[in-house]
Symmetry: T
Subunit: 156 residues, 12 copies
């Protein structure tokens, strides 16, 4: 079986692949929760929130793909299976069932704070070890912080 | 909080929402496993399999969305959270790590048989209760069976 | 003058063309009322409702065209003239004049219940006589029920 | 409920909204009759007339939307409901049923003369009161007169 | 050599693959005859008929591909070779040489009656055995019947 | 240095270039204030207002360009520098800082009244002197009045 | 042979068709001379002038078509034959052969003055008789004057 | 003034530029007559002929541009001015005024015979002297002969 | 019935129409066999061969249409009916049923040799009689030879 | 009123928002001056400079939007009002009136030096405090420096 | 290793592959020099020349690809490696460093003469041996001669 | 002759332009070798490798253009002439002639290791001197490393 050579030193490899692994879990879970709320939101702002969540999901899926392929690129297979996400995610759960539009805004506003803090930390952790992964993670931070602004701005 | 009226009788509601709930779990898990293999496949057929898996993922995501919105439409919130998928999925797990191209073909050929049988059963279960959901599930069956043909056809 | 041969038996012809005639009246009237509300809605959700109504109108026009051409196809000329709609429609009237956004949501939520019930009945009526018309009407039902979910979900 | 301020004086308001109201009725009815003939035309020129009528309908719908939104803009809600059209339209009715291609050409050639005369009069009526509405109605006249040329040119 | 597993029972397999095989022959022959007339039509309606025939050919080719791939999907190789079509087609032959526009309309109007009856029968034959193939064949019927209406409508 | 000949008489030149100069200042300032509110709006209607303002800005920029190029065309250089706008604009200032969604709607509803009145006056002023500039300014009026309707319609 | 009814009175007809006939001749000749210079220009600004002339030709052809179809619409056949243009054009001839870029600019700057004056006069002539033709001719004037600005602006 | 070097010998230059000059005149005149008939055709086939003529004009304009630029490329300025066309064209004139659809078909069928013969001769004349121009002229012949087939095919 | 005049002499007509008739048969049969293999190929290179065959079919259909219309253009009706292909084709038959990917490559590599030789001969046969048909057939040769390179290049 | 949480420490907040505020002023003023010159440039290079300035304006507007939204994202409202630009801009003023093409090139070449120096400084100032803003400002620098090269390169 | 059969005789093979090999070297070198000048041109016509060179490069790359694939098609591998180009090119070198716009025009005008002469010779050399390659090379000549006209036309 | 001012200090200038010069050579040579293999690859994976190489070439050409324009931007002319590439490239040569698919994969897998190491070093070298060039080179590294993963992944 072919093996993928890492362009990184062993130390850098450990730091970078750990950061990418954790970032992938956050991003896949964000995409699943975004769809969950997309389907179950109710309330006067239904359409606005419904479509906003699809943009969140599209961005999360795109970044998850970039992060996972970067992981493979630096020599470590990616792990995005349901049981891995369910076991290791750090994002607060949404309850099952219908969810009011204001509660969607509150719930998502709430989860971005931790999400951004973790993602900023990962970007910083890899800065020396791999500036390419650093750039990739900063792009994720930029997008997440912009979304966070928008969620905050539309609280009622 | 607004409630969504079901156009179905109570009996039909029970049959239909159960079928849609299970179909959703199969489809989301297929999309996660498709990406898992997309990232980790290695071997001479890397590119062919890598791109074929993205088509599988795109179709699974599209159908998951249609199925989940049909569930909301007939009055039952959808549940696509990671822990639900991890707990209830009936698809055989992929191991973590790199996976050879021939093994990807074998693994996917293997999982479609059960997947198609379950989906055909669901389509049949809802035929009387809700012909609209029946049509939606038959479209899923048509796509899955076509993919199954292709996976079989390219076994070495 | 050429005559259009019907691929249906006489009994089937009677059942199918009656169902299509009534479906056409419902769909054209829905498109006229959708535009009526599109122009006259006022209130904080003006833009959301204004654009949502255009999607309702676009879908209704598309389905009206398919239904009317199916009617011609099975040998019966279609009738979509204003006086026919005004005389035979079963949809509750909107009053003339400005209409608040919440009232638009309430009015449309209200009219879909009957609309869907009638359309489901028509689909069922033609199931034996003409499976092609059955498929066409089930597509209409699927779209209307999805719109109905959305109208309900955004009630305040 | 919000009220829409008119940028027009009371006198101008009366003249302009009356002209727009009548123009809207003509345009919606033209779109309904265009579809009626689109579905029911028969004869050797079936395809040519069938597609030409869709262009008539598209233009009529586009202009109806512009006219109705101008009406709302100058402070008067628009009225495009089926019973309003049926009651107030000045266009000669088409009979129900199949209609030969030559008869479609004759019928439409016949109805444009009055339609254009009325629309020209409305454009002139509002010229002093509201040059913006005047421009909108002149665009309608330009399109209708061009269609009228084409209907005349293809008489057999 | 890989074998393609059929998702159908043996009885269903026999019914379904026979229906698909015959549908494929009809559709390929329709596409060949459509081109034949496309090239050889003469008369005042040359352009109208010339382009209409290309639409017939495009639809027939698209449906032939869907039908043949469904056949492979349910485990039976497709057969669309010239000698198979020539030997087994049930569509009346066109003579070689130029053909007047009215004669094209008459010839095609004539051949759709049998074509539609056979295709409707096939759809019915597979309804119990395989609802997916049933849907595919009903889509073919819908398209053919619509074309048949148009051919009839333009007879002189 | 080339000089641009004016197609206008001296009297017409004075009236027309003055009207175009003032229209340009209004339009550029509208585009700057639209962006200001686009960035700083907060509240439950954040997304709706945020995107609506971008449409206002796009239209204002497009019309500013047309007006300025018309000014050059009739022989007078355009002046759209920041200090000119700051010194000569007649639109009420927005305060710096965050601004609630309802306040955005109120502020913009408020500023259109004067804006439209001035623009209508300019269109009237140039009507005799230059019908081309008259047409250009009437297009601006049509757009502004339509936006004004929408702002009014969505007041809460 | 069908006759095209004019929506104009006899007096208006005479004024309008004469203006349109002369406008057509100017526009076709402009398109021919634009191509002539497009092919034969030489000098350091070759590419800039070469492409600018194609824009002149495209606009002239588009307006010629609108003017000629308006002529047919108001009941008078259009005349755009080579001998008519050659006999009646009022635009100064270009000599045959290569032409330097500066000379192209000078020649075209020179011919627009008369062209615009004649076109403005025609627009004014038809203002009372037919406001639709007036609008069409003002659009031509707007385009020609903008081109004239650009030709002037780039004189060396 | 720059001079354009010819890649041809003097003898070849004479033969080639003469052929291109004459081809250009034929093609420009064809485009003018095509528009003439496009505007003035009347009769039941109005729309069919009206659009067909636009295709003739588009092809003629495209080929005229290629031919004229080839002339410049081989060192000879092109001449497409109205008086040159009027003086040197060999195509039979159309009378002014309305022209019936059948007469358009007859007139155009009539003029292609000479047009094609001349164009074939030119292609042959330049075959030895410049194979590039030969290819360009054969493309013109191919297009003209295809149009000629279509005009003939639709004679009534 | 209209007759299509040939721009060719009688001798040329005979040579050219015979070459085009035979080329058409080869091209239609290639398109049918390409689809046959597209549907029935199995093996590890399934996807690569499956899509490559669609490109072969698209090119063959496009060239068949050009060749057949050229035949009509030079005065001879085209014949592309199934029985004509089955009777006159010179391409070796494919057996019915599944076909391994390597065998597809071998079979197609095998059939191009004769196909190209025949097509080159036809191009040569018509070179004097009709350079336009010669160009058309050389384009076919160029495409076929390029495909032949690719089939050969991917033999294992 | 919702408040936007800053993901930055207080010290970082002060540094970053100041840099973004100043960058915004530079970019908006560049867009206004770019349009100013776009409208008023004269001289032989009119078209080249006219279009180049539109690219400058498009880039400046795009970057202004990104910078302002980043400012909101990190918790500080943006300020892009005309009086703020007029008061705080550091870019040298353009005089009103026509401006020769060479002078445009000289003026813009002159203003980029300071503009780039300030923007580089800001990027450096925020490097520690916020790598995301650092990336955004470096993108601005890259674009401005590329434009600066082009302005220099085309000096005469 | 598969071998690519040549459809050519041995003598033809030698002539054709030699011509294609040399044409490929000219075309790749033209694309490299085009980019070289694209990057380093300075002077008032910077933008015009900068973009014109990209068109030269795009055409050269496209033709290089066609020529190289034709070489493979007729059985000879292509050679486009840097050292081959550097060793065998016949195009005069450009010096390193900045190059004035007038000098770019002069340098490129200068190199086309030889380039065209060589390419014309190659087209002629292969005419008997392979008319397909002849057509390919004549297309290259047509494009190069057109570019040569344009370079000459814009000399100052 | 205009000179391009560098925004860099002299020391930074030396470091940055050297890095960009070497990066340009690597990228142009990669694009030439990519095409070389694109044309000459043979073997069962011909199509897969053939198209993958075109993606490599497209990316290399795009990055070469960005790198070369950055060099000009910071004041140093770029050098991408064939002899420069041939003399200074550090990439291992490919032999002339056909090359098997597995050998292409091996050869390209082999050359990326050095390519990536050199490009990473250059990115690091310029980090202090010019963060903009650093970003550009990191984008190149990201792309190259992703391609390297893919080449490795498909080794047999």
């Amino acid at each position: 079986m072919p093996t993928i050579n890492s362009p990184l030193t062993d130390d850098a490899y450990k730091v970078v692949t750990e950061a990418l692994r954790d970032a992938l879990i956050d991003l896949i879970d964000l995409s699943l929760l975004g769809k969950q709320a997309h389907w179950n939101v109710v309330g006067p702002r239904f359409r606005t929130i419904h479509f906003q969540l699809d943009e969140v999901v599209d961005a999360a899926r795109k970044h998850a793909d970039i992060v996972a392929e970067r992981s493979a690129t630096v020599g470590s297979p990616a792990d995005g299976r349901a049981e891995t996400i369910a076991r290791d995610t750090q994002i607060t759960r949404l309850d099952a069932g219908w969810i009011r539009d204001d509660d969607v805004v509150a719930a998502f506003t709430g989860l971005y704070e931790g999400l951004i803090a973790r993602m900023r930390q990962r970007a910083q952790d890899v800065e020396q070890a791999d500036p390419v992964s650093n750039n990739i993670l900063l792009d994720v931070v930029e997008e997440l912080e912009k979304q966070y602004w928008m969620w905050q701005a539309e609280r009622s």
